[in-house]
Symmetry: C2
Subunit: 256 residues, 2 copies
Amino acid sequence: MASKTAPKTESRRPHVKCEQCSLRDSPVFRPFSPSEFEWVREHKSGELAVAAGSTILLEDTNSPHLFTIYQGWAFRHTALPDGSRQILNYALPGDLLGLQTAMFDKMEHSVDALTDVLLCVFEREQIWKLFNTTPELAFDVTWLAARQERIMDAKLLTVGQRNAKSRVAYIMLHLHARTKRLGLGDEKSCEWPITQEHLADTTGLSKPYLNEVIRALAEEKLARVSDKKLTILDRDGLVELAQYDVARDEMLRPFL
Amino acid sequence: MASKTAPKTESRRPHVKCEQCSLRDSPVFRPFSPSEFEWVREHKSGELAVAAGSTILLEDTNSPHLFTIYQGWAFRHTALPDGSRQILNYALPGDLLGLQTAMFDKMEHSVDALTDVLLCVFEREQIWKLFNTTPELAFDVTWLAARQERIMDAKLLTVGQRNAKSRVAYIMLHLHARTKRLGLGDEKSCEWPITQEHLADTTGLSKPYLNEVIRALAEEKLARVSDKKLTILDRDGLVELAQYDVARDEMLRPFL
DNA sequence: CGACTTGTTGATGTACATCAAGGTACGTGG
DNA sequence: CCACGTACCTTGATGTACATCAACAAGTCG
């Protein structure tokens, strides 16, 4: 529940040159050309620090900003009128937030900070200019949108066709792969700021039953969550249970 | 089941000038400028007729083509290794097929023709040129990708949080709204080429139970399917059952 | 220290899947 | 015209995977 609507946020001037952005060192992202650096440097309008639990973007509103995650975890979610919440996906460093506000009149989902988050801020009008002045970056935005659609396809497949244990196993493998590639985890483990309640709203399972599933995975020595960390105990077993297609989560990303 | 892998398709030269494309008259699409018409006319490489039940694009392959639906229904779907199939979404006239092949090395879903379908064909390399030469159209492609993501968000919410009756009601309302706006139906009804098996794979329900749900909706005089037609009997009742947000399916579309 | 958030446990019910037939309407070839 | 297959829908019996509700630890955090 309850993202506080009064986020403890803090705005500030850029403190790091984009050329020296630590994310750039990651092998996940493609190299930037000088003109691309120039565009980003020129148009980045600031940084925003958001505390864990706060709302970054609110459903049915239209933020003038577009964000890129520099540090931390966030998640997109939406709800039915009766209150049941669905978590749509988790966003990690390098992910783009708020494309919908740039394309449509309003968002149909909220975005909350899961951990403390540091965001790079852009003005949403600039996305128009992007298409006119820097087609490579415009292409990257489209690439990110297509990739996001692909992730959503996979989630729908998961929730529609996998059973409870398989669903949880799949999400563990998926997020482990993504964090690992960003250098936020190793072969066997990664950080895990996701509570059981989040996971229940992600998988469409109830909280008590999800708890049972998680304990079962631990008992069967497949994976264990403790102390905000996920440990993969038996990767092959987990992959088989989840019917996980390893190749699907491997993609070179073009854009910061 | 079983899309025949040897589709009865027929390739042919364009028979209609894009300027006179009947879809252009639809109030759903924004008007094109002369330069946009020129781009489309120059780059459209042909038309393709595909028979109902045939495969248009195959998972794990990489088609050199990008399609736009001129006439008919198609659907995107993917499957788990164990065989369970998930239908991701239905594609209607004006929808773009195969963006993934243009952005990535291969597709992670197949596309099948649900009815006989008429496609406009583009070469996938041209999408690069689009970003360099016609930024308005490039923006439209991104717009379509963002809209598709939005639709996938809504489906995930549906399958994750709605119960069986509510799921089916939601899909009926969603597809009725989309077809109606394209002029393929009226206030109370629309064409419905979707079998119960398709619907089961869309909702994640079993075929027999889905059948029960559909009969219940008919008995309660909410909606009825017969003879490849959907009839909405009690729209308000259906909207309430589905927790359907009318505004979400209303969007002006930019691109053919 | 109490208040709150997160995880654990158990009792009970139901919404759904699975399996197994059978039924109807259509086509196709003899 | 009949025999046959095939595609789609219908029906019922049985089981189980899950939800719901309720209460209670256990660990933050002010």
